[in-house]
Symmetry: C2
Subunit: 325 residues, 2 copies
């Protein structure tokens, strides 16, 4: 086999947050989640299986990846090889079309692009559900980046995880996510570690898990009727509940920096002045605001003092750019 | 009756936090708490019952108080009048020996001093337990400021609140609390309102209440053996759990400002560099660090860029300065 394929996937931001795993080995989430895939923040990945390669290799933005990242990719490729019944090693090249130094690099776009490129290079042609299940093994959030626009990740019930995948939510709602990248540098606690520690030590974790179904329904209903205030309210509440569950872990897991809280306060002030914007942030310090096209520039201007900003539209689904299997 | 008395009480900082009421009318806490009374941050209050006064009056730091503050004081004086069987109105003068503009003004020192001055001016001589129960009616935290050093507030079980009072924890431990006053201005959410809203809407409130007994025991044991790390760890955890319970309320109650989180991060860095310091903060933005005398200056220097700082020793119990009943 000498198959090669290139795919691109966009990152996504969870509006109803994913936090906690029901099975670490299969990367099964303890809660469902609901996200918006973003235009303009994508990863482009090529995978070439090569009978002569002695081991998997990985170039990230043109540089050889560190052993930890390579190991994670190699374990993911093992899943693809097992499924395709092949043994060849792969040369993987992956690049983000946004500055990784800004700390927005995303395992969501990375593993969605890799799942698509690697399966096509291996001669497989998976359907969306199978792709989403596979991408989930690399990163829980990657399961959602198979799809464009709004997507909902199903927690699922099965022990084998075959019912734990994302599905798209059809919508023509032209919403915006404004991102302000605050402090740079590596995260203090990787999200996988933060999730495990929260589940093991936070007195609030059980309540967090119990609450998620209602938040998902609220968000789903809000999207169906284009109700910005309802979607924004549950977005901000889900984010703060997630961070609160981690902050109550012992010792605490705190992803906020000063600039993150200032961003939250700026967004509150925007709302008081009549500009619809709701805060969210992930397992890192950056500030994200949900709004609509009409107000995106005002929101961006208000957040600009925190750092570099982007206005993101709903982005496209993962797609194959080139295949030669 | 023309009794007059002056008393002084020091503020206190809860190490194991008070958040939530089991009875709003009697101001009964849903959880016990454990505090350190602070030297150098006190309120001095004079109460003069005067048969000729047409209404209660209140001078705060030399200025007539606003109607809201006066109303709260008048309702408290009603409790004292009922107990003493008198009807005279009172002239109350109260002053803090620390800058109120710094946002450290405390209802703890205010109502402890008022309870002591008002009862003595009314000819009453209450024991510590009775004083603590009375001060609690003015402000939950005031029940602890009757005592110096460490004090523990009992949640109590009785509907009438007679078993809900503070007791001193005898200790010669020469600990320090470093305060950095960050942003000034009024709080966004008064603590009474924040507590009620948390109890009514936060999915984490029940777990917060359940957890408090264990934290109190941990703190008590740590004080008994002068175990700074154990006391610091539970202090920081109790604070973050309290704020997390409020942050998960819907809508969120967030007392942190950017500078508060920066303070938390500075304190983490201090610990990594071997300097023992643990973060706490109350229903406001200011940063407080628990440490020992030997390291207090280093901690103060590290926090100085956030705002004005104080190093506080354990403070004295509330005391009567003058009485003419």
């Amino acid at each position: 086999l000498n198959g090669k394929a290139t795919a691109r996937a966009n990152t996504n931001i969870a509006l109803v947050k994913y936090w906690g795993k029901r099975d670490a080995a299969l990367n099964l989430p303890a809660v469902g989640s609901l996200s918006l895939t973003l235009e303009g923040l994508s990863t482009r990945t090529s995978v070439a299986f090569d009978g002569k390669a002695a081991a998997d290799s990985l170039l990230l933005n043109g540089e050889p990846a560190d052993p930890r990242a390579l190991g994670r990719i190699a374990r993911f490729l093992d899943l693809v090889r097992a499924r395709a019944g092949i043994k060849e090693h792969a040369r993987v090249e992956s690049a983000n079309d946004f500055p990784t130094a800004a700390g927005l690099a995303s395992s969501a776009s990375a593993f969605a692009a890799l799942a698509l490129a690697a399966t096509r290079a291996a001669g497989l042609s998976l359907d969306d559900r199978e792709l989403s299940v596979l991408a989930r093994r690399g990163s829980g959030s990657a399961a959602r980046s198979i799809f464009g626009g709004f997507a909902e990740m199903q927690r699922g019930q099965r022990a084998d995880g075959e019912d734990s995948f994302a599905t798209p939510i059809a919508s023509d709602w032209d919403i915006r996510l404004v991102i302000a990248a605050t402090v740079t540098g590596p995260k203090s606690t990787l999200s996988t570690d933060g999730m495990r520690h929260t589940a093991e030590t936070s007195p609030y974790y059980d309540a967090w898990v119990r609450m998620s179904e209602a938040d998902l329904k609220t968000a789903r209903d809000a999207i169906a009727r284009h109700d910005l205030e309802a979607l924004g309210t549950v977005t901000e509440a889900s984010c703060l509940s997630m961070h609160a569950s981690a902050m109550a872990a012992r010792p605490a897991v705190v992803y906020f920096h000063g600039a993150t809280i200032e961003g939250w306060r700026i967004i509150q002030e925007l709302r008081k002045s009549g500009i619809p914007a709701w805060f969210t942030c992930d397992a890192g310090p950056h500030v994200k605001a949900l709004t609509v096209a009409k107000h995106a520039s005002e929101v961006e201007q208000a957040l600009a003092r925190l750092g570099r900003t982007w206005i993101c539209k709903p982005g496209p689904r993962a797609e194959v750019l080139e295949v030669n299997a």
